[in-house]
Symmetry: C2
Amino acid sequence: MSESISHSVSYSSIEKPPFAVTVIGSGNWGTTVAKVIAENTRENPLLFEPIVRMWVFEEEYQGSKLTETINKTHINTKYLPDIKLPDNLIAEPDLLKSVEFSNILIFNIPHQFLEKILSQLKGHIHPKTRAVSCLKGLRVSEENVELLSDIIQKELGIWTGCLAGANLAQEVALQKFSETTIAYPLPPDYIPGDVDATVLYTLFHRPYFHIHVIDDIAGISIAGALKNIIAISVGFVDGLNWGDNAKAAITRRGLLEMIRFGLKFFPSCKVSSFTEESAGVADLITTCSGGRNFKLAKMMATTGKSAHDVEKELLNGQSAQGLVTAKEIHELIKNRKCQEEFPLFETTYQILFHGVSIGILPYMLENKWSQSKQNFYN
Amino acid sequence: MSESISHSVSYSSIEKPPFAVTVIGSGNWGTTVAKVIAENTRENPLLFEPIVRMWVFEEEYQGSKLTETINKTHINTKYLPDIKLPDNLIAEPDLLKSVEFSNILIFNIPHQFLEKILSQLKGHIHPKTRAVSCLKGLRVSEENVELLSDIIQKELGIWTGCLAGANLAQEVALQKFSETTIAYPLPPDYIPGDVDATVLYTLFHRPYFHIHVIDDIAGISIAGALKNIIAISVGFVDGLNWGDNAKAAITRRGLLEMIRFGLKFFPSCKVSSFTEESAGVADLITTCSGGRNFKLAKMMATTGKSAHDVEKELLNGQSAQGLVTAKEIHELIKNRKCQEEFPLFETTYQILFHGVSIGILPYMLENKWSQSKQNFYN
């Protein structure tokens, strides 16, 4: 551990309550998660330090520094306007100051800033710090797939779980009912009193934000990434007016392919993470009923325009993550020679980028892989 | 076996192809299923007798007998207008004539006629005849729950499976893509060559209507009944504009309660029937996104009117099955003293019939049963 760390608490109590929490990131989801956490730390002062620090990338906004505005008005006027934040949530512009003395780090930054933030934090984090990543998705390369939480874990040497679910920042901020899944296996160096499922449940659970803690990080990470490809396919068939049952059929086949992908690339992941959890089936349902990927695909189907043109026209310079994921997954399964195991993902890619007709979908799904098991009887 | 049965085939070949098929029922779903079957028997003349008989309750329609119209024009003008039926689908007004010589019976009649039809058939069906019931649901009494397929099996002494899925007759008739699940365990007296999963797959699978055969009749029957209660709850929260993630959360919690109910009342049923099959998760998704039960509940939430008044106003004398099921399930779990295991079903009942506020839902779901397992770690 670097000598530059000074703790006002001694080594031996890093694993013991009260735990100090820092949220790294302050976009609309980061601020929302910080709000939820601050509500809970305030209510559980034996378990948590009441003060929650939120690292905010400092910027000028409406004539003031954003951190000063947040600390004075308790509103993140730029990224979560009109939502009153708890007084015990403090905005901190200095990254290292924000994490000093914290036992629990919650990562909630855009993917593209992850490497930079991690390089700044590296060497400054006590190895017994516990982390939860709210970044959705996977890092897909041509031959392999990596969990974003593993990237944090490797760079900083700290045990990292992840949080994902059927959530929209605005809804959670307005205290509308939803749920989320936290995946946090017990650390190998766990001692009773350390951060565990109960601690994280208490940190995140609100009457309007229900938590389920599981131990399958890979499962929820994969679901979070692949749902976007499925949403595109559902958008296609919605655009062609094939009906709700066609959409449900595509959603179901997508769920089965997610499971197959999970078990293939992360054999220890659990089927139930996909089929029973908020981060699995629930998030798949919402993602397939609206959202950018769905809308982009629907417009492709109704207008005949290319993915590229629709993305420009519809999304105003923003990108649809599903397009990237569809391409990355295609490359991966092509290089691993297992395309025929994923007819929905592969056909979606072909429709998106190679002009294949949407009408081919039922035919491509009508093969031996259409059964979730190869034999009719289990 | 009654002496009144005369077969033009001998006893020893009742279990062998080619199999003759009769569809009992000719409403819009019955006629659609008969169409699908007739397309397949025509294409597989070694496995099936090409002629498919459909028992049609004879009535006058537009100046003619309905069976005559169907056989002349190949359109069921009353129950499936504008859809051309295959020439090898023959309408038969005499129930016993329609089933004579058939190896496979497909039941597709409204629930209220089941007892009467069974009493007419009793004693006239060869015990080695195989059946598939398309009737959705359960027979719920105050202390018990029975599968509709078991009722057919008991009355007629024939092995009976069932078919259910995310299907709408009109969409399947128009050959829009969808899927369905068939549950058909191998009969105990099965001999190779007899009706099995492959036979049923071939009988029902079309390029636009994909089949998965499993062996869990209880699972898909329970899903088919309970989804309607869940759809009501989703309708409530949609009516209050709680957002898509609230709806997905309710859908997910409903799925978990379905599973719990299934395992409690039919311990041999499989979790995957609910979480992976068309008759499970896919039908749940479509039922919760539209349909009578959803719409009724949504209107209750937006207007404050009672279930009874909305049913009259919205459904024109038709009934919403979910209201009946919610009441029946409430009585059953009350008598079996396990209400606290089903907070979503119970709270939905209380909202429907005892004026409890919809707003209580998150609180009622926020208890130890909110976790799919009692411990955080499996």
